[in-house]
Symmetry: C2
Subunit: 210 residues, 2 copies
């Protein structure tokens, strides 16, 4: 039964379903049952059926799920076919690594431009992406419809840049600054996804304690 409000727990499992189904597809697997997929992913068959039923009826009794169809359905649910526009702010080591290595298209985005304050970077191209002066960020956002900004600059600049992005109507911020900037009530609809590297490593530290 389709649900209106999807829980966060379910949403965060969707990309994993995607990755696993993509792998099965590459291996040439045509169909899979919830119990086989569950074994693959370390989930119960029940949970998988429960998760998928939030979005529709993708399976068939006695058969299971068609791998390719289910893969496409979940990509559709996540909106990965959308090719929305993205920019990156802060073309330092990490920003550069993302520009060069990360497959934005596979996650539903086109990376249109990067911004940085360093004069030696401004005007260059990285992996086909033009690097503009950070001072041009505001004007750029007024003339281009940008859905998401990747924030890969030092934490000290995070709040100010985030404020500008939100004021100019950004929909989402992918935050790599390791700083949780404030989101004012007037921007409550802005979505922030933070990649807190240190949080992850600190959890790892805890989990390997003696």
């Amino acid at each position: 039964m389709r649900k209106d409000k999807i829980s966060n727990a379910v949403i965060r499992r969707l990309p994993r379903y995607c990755r696993n189904l993509a792998a099965l597809r590459r291996e040439g697997v045509e169909r899979i049952s919830s119990s086989a997929l569950g074994k693959n992913m370390g989930l119960t068959a029940s949970q998988i059926r429960q998760d998928l039923s939030c979005f529709g009826e993708f399976g068939q009794q006695g058969y299971g799920y068609n791998v390719d169809t289910l893969y496409q359905e979940i990509r559709e649910i996540l909106g990965l076919h959308r090719q929305r526009s993205a920019i990156l702010v802060g073309a330092g080591n990490l920003g550069r690594a993302l520009i060069r290595n990360f497959d934005f298209v596979d996650s539903g985005f086109r990376l249109e431009a990067a911004f940085d304050v360093r004069p030696e970077l401004i005007g260059t191209e990285m992996h086909g992406v033009p690097v503009h002066d950070a001072a041009e960020l505001g004007p750029y956002l007024e003339t281009h419809a940008v859905a998401v900004a990747v924030l890969t600059l030092p934490p000290q600049s995070a709040q100010k840049t985030a404020d500008l992005l939100m004021d100019k109507g950004i929909r989402g911020i992918w935050n790599f600054t390791n700083f949780d900037f404030e989101v004012g009530e007037e921007h409550a609809e802005v979505v922030v996804e933070s990649m807190h590297f240190s949080d992850s490593l600190q959890v790892l530290s805890y989990l390997i304690r003696d």
Copy 2:
């Protein structure tokens, strides 16, 4: 009341407590109540008191918590004072970004060495970290006590390298490969923390859907 088995949900909030308390400390705040901290972090006062009570009694009725003490306590719980040994495998763009910019010490680790297959990198130093031939990884692990390996190499090499690391007795793997390698039953005690960039961006894609 101290608990034996701490839930994953609680563990994953600990680094956030740490970050918030660190910020308060920097601002010179000396004490804080669970309700004030809750407002700060977007949690209920109840949850904070419940979380902390898993590990001991750190507060005082009528007063709240001493910011500095609580900060130190949580760092201790996470094991961030330990300075355990870490290595990094794959000194490409992302690996390089971590070596140069990431503060391993703040998360409880010393980054001792990096490994790569590229001849032009072998023998060099990055930010004081020596880059060795990836072929030396096995021998290195036999002569050095390494707690954690950072995996920043292409997904195609992930399984093979992870297998080697686990065979040589690694305690934890911080996985940036965007690939969930298999962990054999014989290595069930190995802890894997994965930073799946694409999962995060895909969730963001979902959350900004119309």
